[in-house]
Symmetry: D2
Subunit: 312 residues, 4 copies
C-alpha cells in the first residue's frame, strides 16, 4: 500500500469538497483528481491540479476572446493540424501538476527533463520513510549483450533469489544505520538520550538509490508529451516507463483529442532517415534491395524492415 | 473601447457558465475571470485561466498529501519565510494565463522574459486591426538628458501637437497602404477584383511599431513576480509599466499572502551594495560620511541617500 | 552594403589578432570568424564566438577525461547514433554566438525560440539607422489561396511596382518623421535648437516593421539545429529562411560530422504517421490503396505520395 | 587522489596542445584549463572549455562590431552598471563548461538549477567506480536544533567514530554486492562464468547516495553567478559549498571585472525588507528602536542587527 490511512483520509477530505468555477473543467479528470494511481511496489502518481482542456489548445491557437470551440470535430481537426505541423506553442497552454512517489534512481532520470517545475521532499529537513523498491521477479533482467544499456533474459533460480536477498538486506541495513546515525526512529522518537544524532543532511547519504522519494511535478502539455514520447518508449528503462504509461492514461482522460493526435503523429508511425526513405522508394518501385548498398547499417536495416513489417 | 460588441458577447457567454470542480478556487479571481482590464488607449489584460492559490505554495513546499493548509496565519508565515530566503520553487507551482492586447513595441520588450508560454495573433495568417497607440498628452516625455534611456519633461504646445499629428497621420497612412497592398479592406472584402493582393506575411511589414497585437501569455507565479519586479519598477518604460501595474492588482486578488510577502521582501525595501552597507554602518556609529571616500559613485551615493530618506 | 567602412575596419582589426589557446579550435570556422555573410538587402549574420567541435559532442557523451576522440570514423559513428536516437544533451555541449542584422518582423519570429541568449540593439537608448527591407521583385508573392499563411504567384507589372513604391515611400516618410520627432538627424546632430525632442523610447514607435535591428544571439548546437529544422524548412517564410540557410552553411563548416548526421536523420527523410505507415505497408504488400479508406486526409495523402515520389 | 595515472596522462596530452585562435582568450584561465581542482575526498571540478571574457559582456551590451573594449576602466564601469541594475542578458554571453566529480547526493541538489546543460556518466551503460564520500571528522555536524535543515556542533568521540565506521562499512558492503549482482569486478572481468549478471540499470540501485558520479556541466555566466550566490552562501550545505567556492575562484580568474562587480553588488551587501529599511531610517534619525513594534520577527531582527554590526 503506497499510502497510509492518514494520507488516505487527507485525500478523501480534499476530494469531498467541490466549488463552482468559471474555468474549463474536465469531468473525467475530476473523477480521479487527488487519487493515487499505484506504480511499482510503493510508488504512485496522482493529479493534484490541472489547467485547460482540448479546447484551450484551440483557443490559444486562435488567440480567441471566447471558448475557442466551434464544433468538437472542428477542434479535433485543428488539433491534428497543429500536432502534425509541430506547432507546439498551443499545447503549452495546458498545464498539469502531479504528486509522484518514485525510487531515487528513477527520479534522477526524470529530472533531466528540465522544462518542468519541481518541489521534492527534503531529506535535509525531514526523515525519509523506510520504503525501497525491490523489482518483481519477472523484472530481474540480466544485462543485455547487444544493447549495452538494456536488459536481456530474466534471471532465474538461485541467481535471482540471491539478487533479491542482497537488495533487501542492504536496504534494511542501510536504513537501520540511518536511524542509528540520526539517533531517531522512523516515528521521530529518540533512540539514545546520551547522543546528539548526526545532521539529517549528512545521514541521508547512507541510503541506497532504490529508496523512495516524492515530489510535486508541474509541466505544460507540450513538454509532458515530449517526456512521454521518450519515457513511454520501449527503449526507456522499465521502472520509469511504468510511470509514463500511467501518465499517458491520465492524458487520455484529460485531453482526448490531443491524445488521439499524439498517438497518430508521434507515438505511432515511424521516422525514416534520408537513406531509409530512399530504400522505401526503391522497394515501392519493385526493386530488390539488400542491406549492402542501402546506405543503412545492419541495425538500421533491421529496424527499418521491422517497422515496415518485413523480414530483415 | 478595446473590444467589440461581438467580443463582449463571447466573454459574457463564457462568464455565465459555472461548473463544479475539486481544484483550488479563488473567488476574488473568479469575479474578474475573462473580464478585460483596460490599459493604454486600446489595450487590455484579462485572466483566462489560473491554477493554484496561496495554499498551493504551502502544499508544494511541504510536498503534502492534503491541502497543505493548517491555519491561514501559519501559511502566511511559511510564505514569508520562503520569499525571504529565495526558495523560489514553491511559487512556481501556481500558474496563470492572460490574454493581452498591447502595442508591438511593448510586446517586443515583454517577450524578452523567456520563461513563459506565448501564442501571438499571426499577421502571416490574419489581418491586423486598424488600432494603434497614441500617447496621452501627459505622456509625451522629452528625451531625458542624464538617463539616456528615460524621459524628461513633458512636451508642450506646438511641439507636442506636431508629434501627435505625425504619429497619427503615419499610422493611418501606413494602414491604408497595408489594405491597398493586401487588396483587402479591414472587414475582409476585396478592394479591386483585378488584383491578386500581396501575401499577408509581406504586407504586414508596412505597419509601424505602435500597432496593437495580442497574445495569450501563460506564466508561473515565480516568473510572473520576477517580471513584475522589473516592469512595475520606476525604471521601466511607462507603456509596459501600466500593464505590470494592472497585473500586480490581479496578483493581489489571486494570492494575497504571496502578494504581501512580495511587497515586503521584493518591491519594498532596498538592496545595499557591499560599500553601501559599510556607509550605513558608519552612519549608525555616528560618523560623518561624505560621498568622497565612501567607495560609492555620485549616482550611487545619491540613490543610497534617497532610499535612506536623507539629503544627498 | 550592410556595413560601414568604420565597421569593416573594426572587424579587420579583430580578425588580425590571433592568440594561442588550449581549447578545441575549428580552422574552417576561424576562417570566417567575425566576417558578415550578407542576407537580404541590408542584413547579415556573422559568427563572433564558438565553443567546441565535433569531438566535444563525443567527449560529453562519454564524460571523458581527454579529447574524447579515438578515430574520426568512430566519432562520426557515435554522433550518428546520438542523432538517430534523439540523445540531445551531448549536442548541447557546443555553443555558438552570432551577430545578426535583420528586419524587425523577422526578429519577431526568431525570438519565439526561447532557449537562446539575446542582446538586442536598444532603440530606447540609441537611434536606429535609416535601413529598411524592400523585397526583391521575384519575392513579391501574392497571398496563397490554399495555404492561408503562404505565398502564391509573384506579383507582376503595375501591382508589383505599386507595392514597392508604397513600401519605400512609407518607410522613408516614417523615418523622416522619426528624426523630426527626435529633433535629431541620423548622425546625431540637432535639427532645431528651439525644441526638446521626443524621448527615443517613444519616437521609435513610428518605424514600420521592415526596419532593421540587430542583436547578439547565442545558442547551443542542439537548439540551433532545432531552430534550423523549422526555419530552413520550405514552410518557413522566405525572409527568415535565408538566414537559416546561411547558418546551416556555418554549421557545416563548424561541426561537419554533426551536419551530416543532421542531414541524414532530421532534414532528409520523412516522418510517417501511424496511418501513413499502414498505407506504406499495404503498398509494399502489393495492395492498391486509395486516399478514401486510407485514414489520411486529402492533404496528408498528397503529401505522403509526394514524399514517396508517387503520383497522388 | 581523485584521478588515475591514465586520466592524468590524458589531461597532460590535452594541455600540451596549443592552436592559434581569433577568439577572445583568457590567459589566467588557459593556465588551469583541464586541470582538476580537488574538492572533498575524491571529487574535483575542472574547466574543459569557455567562451568569452570581461569584454564580451561589454561587446554584447553595446551590440558592437568590434571588440567592445575602449579602456579597461570604462569596461569595468559598464560592467558594474549592468550588475547593479540587474541587466542580466549581457552576462549570458559568456559560457563555461566544467567536468565535475561529486557525490550523488550533491549532484541531486545541483541539478535543481535547470538553466544549464548536463551530460552525466551513465550507470545504465557503465560500471561506477568504488569511490564514496566520507566526511572529514570536523564536518560531522550534529543536527541543528533551531535551523531544521542545518548542522550544529561537531560530533565527538565514540559517536563520531561510530558514524564514520557505519558509513564506510555500508558503502563497502553495498559496492561488493553491486559487483556480485553484476557478476563483474570493478575492472570489468567476470566473477563467475556460470551466472549471467544483473542488468547494470538495476544493479546500480544498491549504491548509497554518497557514491561519486561525474558530469559535464555547461552554463552561461549569468546563471553560474546565480548558482554561486545560492550555493556559496553560508546557508548552503557544506558539501556543495566547497564546489561553489572552487568555482568562484575560477570565475575570478576568468572574468575579473565581473567578479568584482558580483562581489560588490551580490555577494557583499545586504537586502533590506520594507520593514527593515524603516528600522534603519528610524535608527539613523536617532530613535531607539526595539524588536517589538519593529514589524520584524525575532529572527529577522537578529539577522538585521547582525548585518548592521550591532548587538541584537
Amino acid at each position: 500500500m503506497p499510502i497510509t490511512p492518514e494520507q488516505r483520509a487527507e485525500i478523501d477530505r480534499q476530494r469531498a469538497v467541490e466549488t463552482p468555477t468559471r474555468r474549463a473543467t474536465v469531468a473525467a479528470l475530476e473523477d480521479i483528481l487527488y487519487e493515487p494511481v499505484p506504480v511499482l511496489d510503493h510508488g504512485f502518481v496522482r493529479v493534484v491540479d490541472y489547467m485547460g482542456d482540448d479546447s484551450a489548445v484551440v483557443q490559444a491557437a486562435r488567440v480567441s476572446y471566447g471558448k475557442g470551440t466551434r464544433k468538437v470535430t472542428e477542434d479535433a481537426g485543428l488539433i491534428k493540424y497543429l500536432m502534425r505541423h509541430r506547432h507546439s506553442t498551443p499545447f503549452e497552454m495546458c498545464e498539469i501538476k502531479f504528486h509522484v512517489k518514485l525510487p531515487i534512481f528513477v527520479a534522477r532520470q526524470w529530472i533531466r527533463h528540465r522544462t518542468a517545475n519541481v518541489n521534492e521532499y527534503s531529506a535535509r529537513y525531514s526523515i525519509l520513510d523506510r520504503e525501497f523498491y525491490i523489482p518483481a521477479p519477472d523484472q530481474l533482467g540480466a544485462q543485455a549483450v547487444v544493447n549495452r544499456q538494456g536488459r536481456g533474459d530474466v534471471l532465474q533460480g538461485e541467481e535471482a533469489a540471491r539478487v533479491l536477498a542482497l537488495l533487501r538486506a542492504d536496504a534494511e541495513q542501510c536504513y537501520a544505520h540511518y536511524e542509528e546515525m540520526l539517533n531517531l526512529r522512523e516515528d521521530g522518537t529518540t533512540l539514545d538520550e546520551g547522543r546528539q544524532g548526526l545532521a539529517r543532511e549528512l545521514a541521508r547519504m547512507n541510503l541506497p538509490l532504490n529508496f523512495y522519494t516524492q515530489w510535486y511535478w508541474k509541466v505544460d502539455l507540450h513538454n509532458l508529451l515530449h517526456f512521454l514520447s521518450l519515457r513511454a518508449d520501449t527503449h526507456a528503462q522499465y521502472e520509469i516507463r511504468v510511470y509514463a504509461e500511467a501518465m499517458l492514461d491520465i492524458v487520455r482522460r484529460w485531453v482526448p483529442a490531443v491524445f488521439d493526435a499524439f498517438s497518430e503523429y508521434r507515438m505511432g508511425g515511424a521516422h525514416l532517415s534520408r537513406s531509409g526513405l530512399a530504400v522505401v522508394k526503391r522497394l515501392l518501385a519493385g526493386e530488390a534491395v539488400a542491406q549492402e548498398g542501402s546506405g543503412l547499417s545492419k541495425r538500421e536495416w533491421r529496424e527499418l524492415m521491422e517497422s515496415l513489417g518485413r523480414d530483415a
